[in-house]
Subunit: 225 residues, 2 copies
DNA sequence: CAGCGGCGTCAAAAACGCGTCAAAGAACCC
DNA sequence: GGGTTCTTTGACGCGTTTTTGACGCCGCTG
């Protein structure tokens, strides 16, 4: 059974969605604001998130980023604003689809099927991984266990997140640049060289012979647990 | 660089998209109807298909089904009709997203990024094959099971991929050179000799008597599982 | 049986990609 | 406003990959 997390602060919408989804045999969790949405996602591990923008406590894009830090769960955004800039921001932050209100329930359901169809099971990691002697918690962005204190910069976090989200998989440098630096980047491989070296220096036991953050020459990088 | 196949019968839309996409550093192919779209997709292996409904020769849903029969390439549907039933039909047929005209170019671009982001790592190509003692996973570009660790270079991967794409079939040297090295190559058979030898050394149990990577003298090469 | 085309192999040159260093902006905090 | 951290850029050495040329073997053919 597919678990859905519905994030919305308007009770009547939540209620309507809950009824419709339950009738379609979805398992429904709800959260009224961004903070509880992030908590619920980390706790219940939904298979799909339906996120209304315009939450009372935080910007919608921030919620998306908070989720994308450690999970690739499909996110469908609902929004009252049809503005193109909002859509672009949400999609580039990591949302999978964007529906403007008012919307038909059957359209929402079809889009839910479309995004869940793509998500491969068993591909995900939890919010924590281990590299060398240090454990990394993406949901709180904390490092623990290293001999001496280590901190990561935002870029370093983002790069590590994208690598760790698909453990064992080869990720092309082009895609890493697109994801971490933005759509207009794609050839600046020196950025990757620079930041991979820094991640290795901070996390690997022997940065010269990395065991987890591997280079596949001319193809990309790979994280192995 | 991401390859996009634009399927539309209206020349001005095709032209506008081509200009916009090329400016964003996409590689653009176009097809004016469903039949040529299916043919182009099979031949050029795009990373993304932008499909306008209302083609002259066949129903849009049929094109989607035709693609989904053998590829998981992301499909974004453009349509003039906002009807909910059309959306549901297209999405359930296998489309990844559905945009109604008129649409903003930046929204289309954002949605393109969203669907390619999810599909990226080697979603094409059959999952795994076995050569000798080692199993080859093309989606992650990993080799497992060999006695001692083996890695392949990009050229080796590409060559092996083209051979393994048609198991048991004879592939001409000219065709291999065109596919792996590029359109301006076709006679440099020494490249093939060199790289086939390297593949055999790395994968075959007895490189001198290959069981899977076979030579058909004066014709080409053949991969048998 | 000599000639020949095609293949596997070896070895060296050329090109490429990576890690690294160094330093100039940019953003941020006090 | 000054200092610090972070990001962006350019450049260089080195190892690996790719390209290139050449040689010997084998089977086929005349």
């Amino acid at each position: 059974m597919t678990r859905v997390l519905v994030v919305d602060d308007e009770p009547q919408i939540v209620r309507a969605l809950r009824i419709n989804l339950k009738a379609r045999r979805y398992e429904v969790e709800t959260a009224p604001d961004g903070a509880s949405a992030l908590h619920a996602a980390a706790h219940h591990r939904p298979d799909l998130v339906v996120l209304d923008l315009g939450l009372p406590d935080m910007e919608g894009v921030e919620v998306i980023r908070g989720l994308r830090g450690w999970t690739g769960v499909p996110i469908i955004v609902l929004s009252g604003r049809a503005g193109s800039a909002d859509k672009v921001a949400a999609l580039d932050a990591g949302a999978d689809d964007y529906i403007t209100k008012p919307f038909g329930v059957d359209e929402l359901l079809a889009r839910m099927r479309a995004v869940t169809r793509r998500a491969q099971p068993g591909d995900e990691t939890g919010p924590v991984i281990t590299i060398g002697r240090t454990t990394v918690d993406f949901s709180t962005r904390t490092l623990t266990g290293g001999d001496h204190e280590v901190r990561l910069t935002p870029r370093e976090w983002e790069l590590l997140e994208h690598l760790a989200r698909h453990p064992g998989k080869l990720i092309s440098q082009y895609h890493l640049l697109q994801e971490v630096w933005g759509p207009q980047y794609g050839t600046e491989t020196n950025y990757l060289r620079q930041y991979m070296a820094r991640l290795r220096r901070k996390l690997e036991i022997d940065p010269a012979h990395p065991r987890h953050l591997l280079t596949e020459p001319a193809m990309g990088y790979r994280f192995v647990p």
